[in-house]
Amino acid sequence: MPKGQISLRRQLTDRFFTGLAAGLSVIVVCALVAILAYLVLRGAGSLGWSFLTQTPKPVGEAGGGMANSLIGSIMILGIASIFGVPVGIGAGVYLAEYGRNRLGQLVRFTADVLNGVPSIVIGLVAYGLVVVPQRHFSAFAGGVALAIMMVPTVARTTEEMLLLVPHAVREAAFGLGVPQWRTTVSITIPTARAGIITGVMLAFARVAGETAPLMFTAFGNQFWSFSANQPIAALPLQIFTYAITPYDDWHRQAWAGALMLVMLIVGTTTLVRFVFMRRMLGGAR
């Protein structure tokens, strides 16, 4: 249809809404850029060698760092992965390979419910389950809280990725007389490996920044601790503690910690996106 037949009003409306959508998208991208830019501007200056090697100093003393928080975060995340990843992958395998029934539906639904539970509530539950019986805060309790948060994400992505594996591959194995469990372990899971790793890494990145579930479980610590049985520092907790104090020194530390945490998380997700996702899509098609 020639352009002239569309009335000016309709053309302008079209232009207006195109411009509006573009403008609003620009605002969203700007918000991201603003946040990242401030993180770098405020954090980069304090992110030095001492930040990575020292423990927090008392107010008024210059220097100090978040080395113990970094170790603490790694320990808590390690504990969380030990519990969360096998359960998540196992549940995902069940859903994909055996889950075409009522129970599968129920588990799927429950996993989605669990995914939506606020992290602070998970913290309360881990407090009741681990901290109260143990009678003290511990890295282990923090790990349990984060593990609970990892399970549904890992399970659902594992299921999705296993379902991507063409059924003909399984049938080929069955046809050769390979039992079903062996097919799953040696053929289906390796084929979907890149996708499953992606899911695990994304769940990992998601819980790495969680603060709320650690407040009543890992609790935080100003000193070195390498015990799973003791209160332990964590990067997000330390950022929170520093951010709500009135001291400029500690604010600088908080920014530096935030920059480090974001680099860790964004680094992980970007790596996953560019390395594994591509391989996965290439593998399944």
Binding site: D14, A21, L32, Y94, V121, T184, A258, T269
Partner: protein
């Protein structure tokens, strides 16, 4: 990659011919004397593996069951002390032992609604722009940027909000709102910067990614012929989007919005840092408030009496139930739109 994996399996299968435990026909001969037949048919590796995976799947049910029982059990004391009145009382006085959750429920709902009002237009605009309008090379970077917003942890949004957003609101935005919109009663001073509005703005940024990514999913599902038909009838691009795309995706977009609401209701750290933490019900959005999640975050570790702790856990239980209901509702709405389409075309 695929042929390789299959080849490997063929190799391992031929190396290890079907032995005693794996092939029922052979095992019938060799083990029938030792093992009763019902055991032989039931306790094989296949069933063991299946059982193991089943345990992992049941663990998910177990976790949710534990969450519910744990919250109910530990909030029992507050429930017995206040009953339903707990949710309608507005007094929160840990010292004298009077607990009412209304200010927190109010703060949670109002701050989440503020977040939705700000986030929904932005998120839907991003989704529409990315799927329908923008030039192809821009598509990936923009959706990547919105996904990156989702990867930033809550506490970092809080940090950013405390030092950048709050001063900005206090100096520029709040006075402007008070000058031109004070007649609504929603923007009465004084302007502290911190308050419901600050919490709403920072939550809005946090829920944009989830709303826009699900909206995008829903828009993609709208059949291409619908678009072509509208264009063929002479519609401009916007008219096509409005009539053929948005109208069809209505329920799904609603679901995305409600899912965003569910995320906002449970948001803790960023909100705790900027909402002002004052258990009062104020009409003004510039006034400091308090939310269910942030009162738990602030007071749980300092709670000295069992009743106080129990009351906080009861707030947690209420928050849990609220988010579950909201999420289920959202899931149903999204499902009504995306069902019927094949989950994966290449499966």
């Amino acid at each position: 990659m695929l042929p390789q994996a299959t080849g490997h399996a063929v190799g391992s299968a031929s190396k290890k011919p079907m032995g005693t435990s794996e092939s029922p026909k052979i095992s019938l001969v060799t083990t029938s004397q030792r093992v009763p037949s019902w055991q032989r048919s039931f306790f094989n590796t296949d069933n063991a593996f299946r059982g193991l995976m089943l345990i992992a799947a049941l663990a998910i049910l177990g976790i949710v069951g534990l969450i519910i029982s744990e919250l109910m059990q530990r909030s029992g004391m507050a429930w017995h002390a206040f009953g339903f009145h707990f949710f309608f009382g507005s007094e929160w006085d840990p010292v004298s032992g009077g607990f009412g959750a209304l200010p927190f429920i109010y703060g949670t709902i109002v701050s989440s609604l503020v977040a939705l009002v700000i986030a929904v237009p932005l998120a839907v605009a991003v989704a529409v722009f990315v799927t329908e309008m923008c030039p192809k090379p821009l598509r990936k970077p923009i959706s990547y940027a919105t996904e990156l917003l989702a990867a930033i942890p809550s506490v970092i949004y809080g940090l950013w909000a405390v030092f950048i957003l709050v001063p900005l609101l206090r100096v520029y935005v709040d006075p402007w709102l008070m000058k031109y919109f004070s007649w609504t009663g929603l923007f009465a001073g004084p302007a502290y910067g911190i308050g419901m509005l600050a919490a709403g703005v920072v939550m809005a940024i946090m829920i944009i990614p989830i709303i826009s990514s699900i909206t995008r999913e829903v828009l993609v599902v709208v059949p291409q012929p619908q678009r072509e038909a509208a264009l063929a009838l002479g519609a401009t691009r916007w008219e096509m989007i409005r009539m053929a795309v948005l109208r069809n995706a209505r329920a799904g977009i609603m679901g995305a919005v409600i899912l965003g609401l569910g995320r906002a209701l449970g948001e803790t750290m960023a909100v705790t840092m900027v909402i002002g933490n004052n258990p009062a019900i104020a009409k003004s959005l510039l006034a400091p408030g308090y939310t269910m999640a942030s009162v738990i975050a602030n007071e749980f570790n300092e709670a000295t009496s069992d009743l106080h702790r129990s009351a906080l856990i009861e707030i947690g239980l209420a928050l849990f139930l609220l988010t579950i209901i909201v999420n289920i509702l959202a899931g149903l709405l999204v499902w009504t739109v995306t069902r019927g389409t094949p989950a994966r075309t290449n499966a």
